[in-house]
């Protein structure tokens, strides 16, 4: 009887533990999740600038300088940065947190990639604005 009781208590404790641990992340998973959030927040912060890029592109296309070599070059550069962001999003996939090493490597690489995208976008916007003001 006592043995049986002990067994049941152990079973209940074990199930409770299992129940609570489900849906909770391990420290490693938490670390990966924080990294994934960082990557996403870099993306979210710069994403609205896609509209700026497209507005600048439209403005140059509609200007009377549109057919000049310089204008075409600027239009292409804007297009390239637009593509860079769109391609990054298309290729990005949230990694499987269960594979810590691979996931961490992937997220760190993606962080560098999205930072480069951000830099490219902000640079081309600056350059296009300067070009239009000239």
């Amino acid at each position: 009887m006592t043995k049986n009781f002990q067994f049941i208590t152990a079973l209940i404790l074990f199930t409770t533990l299992l129940f609570f641990s489900c849906g909770q992340m391990s420290p490693q998973e938490k670390e990966l999740d924080a990294l994934q959030r960082t990557v996403m927040s870099i993306h979210d912060d710069v994403m609205p600038e896609i509209s700026t890029i497209r507005k600048l592109q439209k403005q140059i296309k509609k200007s009377d300088q549109a057919t000049t070599e310089q204008a075409k070059n600027m239009i292409n550069r804007l297009e390239k940065e637009d593509d860079a962001m769109m391609d990054w999003m298309k290729e990005y996939n949230k990694p499987n947190y269960k594979q810590y090493d691979a996931a961490k490597k992937y997220l760190l690489e993606e962080k560098i990639k999205i930072e480069k995208v951000r830099e490219g976008m902000l640079t081309v916007i600056e350059d296009a604005k300067n070009y239009i003001e000239k």
Partner: protein, 202 residues
């Protein structure tokens, strides 16, 4: 005395219920033509849907529709808006004169084929929910046409097309309501507005 206490609030309730409901406003800048004020109407358009059918304003002459802007590879905002659009789809699934129209902001990658796969994954009917693609500049102009100055929030950087807004368009192309597609609590009220607009046509 006892009765008065009961009757007065009851009377107020009845009176309030009898008041005709205000129709939904027509949103956007008015124009004046021959001394008549003309409500804002969205621009004319022609885009391809996920079945490569040509979709224009004329497609919706007998329908009211819910419009939004998205793209299939969008990782953060669009999936949240999609959940709300699906709720609207479910709420009006059996109502033939309510349609949904999602415009891609990434036509280079969102081809009709890609949109077709996307729609099939969502298990939605192509005659009910159109996913539109076309020329990038024209799609951006269309976004501007939907998100007229009355709707624009100057605090949103770079434009409203990435804000996740959902709009309600009537049969004549007027914007009648809008909602925050990223806010699940807003959808309930928005669905009520769609029902209210439907009543105008009964």
């Amino acid at each position: 005395m006892k009765y008065t206490v009961v009757f007065i609030p009851l009377l107020i309730v009845i009176l309030m219920a009898c008041q005709p409901a205000e129709p939904l406003p027509k949103i956007g800048p008015m124009s004046i033509e021959n001394k008549d004020t003309i409500p804002y109407t969205i621009a004319s358009f022609e885009f391809l849907n996920q079945n490569k059918e040509l979709i224009s304003n004329n497609t919706f002459k007998d329908d009211i529709y819910v419009a939004d802007f998205f793209f299939t590879s969008c990782p953060t905002i669009c999936p949240r808006v999609r959940i709300e659009m699906l709720k609207i789809y479910d709420a009006f699934e059996d109502h033939p004169n309510v349609k949904l129209v999602s415009h891609t902001l990434d036509p280079k990658r969102d081809t009709p084929e890609k949109l077709n796969r996307y729609a099939r994954n969502l298990e939605v009917d192509a005659n009910k929910w159109h996913f539109l693609t076309g020329d990038k500049d024209k799609l951006m102009d269309m976004a501007d046409s939907y998100f007229v100055s009355a709707l624009e929030d100057p605090t949103v950087p770079g434009g409203i097309e990435h804000s996740g807004k959902i709009l309600l368009i009537d049969k004549a192309g007027h914007i009648r309501a809008y909602s925050e597609g990223t806010d699940p609590s807003a959808t309930v009220g928005f669905i009520k507005k769609i029902k209210k607009l439907l009543k105008e046509y009964e």
